[in-house]
Symmetry: C2
Subunit: 245 residues, 2 copies
Amino acid sequence: MSDRLLTPDELETALRAIGAERYHNLHPFHRALHDGRLSKAQVQAWALNRYYYQARIPAKDATLLARLPTAELRREWRRRIEDHDGTEPGTGGVARWLRLTDGLGLDRDYVESLDGLLPGTRFAVDAYVHFVGERSILEAIASSLTELFSPNIISERVSGMLRNYSFITEETLAYFTPRLTQAPRDSDFALFYVKEHARTVERQQAVMDALRFKCGVLWSMLDALDYAYVAPGFVPPGAFAPRAG
Amino acid sequence: MSDRLLTPDELETALRAIGAERYHNLHPFHRALHDGRLSKAQVQAWALNRYYYQARIPAKDATLLARLPTAELRREWRRRIEDHDGTEPGTGGVARWLRLTDGLGLDRDYVESLDGLLPGTRFAVDAYVHFVGERSILEAIASSLTELFSPNIISERVSGMLRNYSFITEETLAYFTPRLTQAPRDSDFALFYVKEHARTVERQQAVMDALRFKCGVLWSMLDALDYAYVAPGFVPPGAFAPRAG
């Protein structure tokens, strides 16, 4: 780990290198998901757990929104909440994610109850919300930078899942299409902010650690899914238990 | 799940039933640990990750201490911090845990740096500290009730590890001996408090949910260890990587 001051462009390069090593597109669960090697029940488990992440993202963004000092910054960040919560019932990212769990045959009340959630999912997502409330604004913004890497994974995921699973349709994957334009817009802003404000060695290290932290959130969610539902397939007491067959 | 009001003794029975289903002595990683089926590197990974739990317990207890309304309750709870932090350097549970990681050949600076921690460990332990700060005092106290079940697991662990691992000595397991008397004293108090104060259906459900939550904390720590270091043995980027051999 370098401890000299990086130029803004060197910092961007260092951040992209963290993604190249730690972003969850490298996780075996993701490979299995995209390559069609999962059963419908395993895809259900993924969608059910990932729902909690989607459902808490507006809380994460509102936590940061409450701390931002200027109307300009708050307008920028408020757009994220609008993207996720929509402008009327049935719109926005959270509602679109529920169309995915519907399409997979999961009961909507069960999904929203969170009763079947893996504890590991809950703790990872809650850690993200707490991080954004407790760390500096710079670190909180930097923790969103995984979106730099998401367009690739989304393209892979959509084409792979449509090709490989008979139970997946374009309609059930409607969540992802708007994310292909929203995520780059959001990450462009966050990257610009971070490059502008991380002008000491200490702040640059904090920014890189924030991105590592966030990669750990996404990664550990897949660790928990893979352990519970793929190999060894050991479901914790109380969590979603797929029916055999 | 019953929704009628339980007598205090029925509540105790219900809480013990939660432990019988969800306490981490039932986890395959624990069975493997006690039965001598782990390598030294796998035992190191356990001790290194569990260190973070030990190290944060005083923060968990201080978070609750700060919220307790009476000197009587605070005196009771303060004793837990004294047990863990000791009365002088080198005493207390955290210091005794470091004798275990020392005995396993782990570098103390590395252990204390937390650099090798699994993200899943960090998120689970931090969830416990946050729970105690955010939930009702009754729920916070109830979440400590896993100690009702710990004397059994400690006896099993100490005898099993001494018998099965040449690299384990009584000295390295010194952490556990005082816990055999501290845990029952602490859980007696917590159980008495909970039975006394959970006198509505809603509060009884909250108490049971708090114990389920805490079982999930301990359980998901073992899920993360088992996934990373046993099966499939897939270590997340940046976490402790045992040397081969």
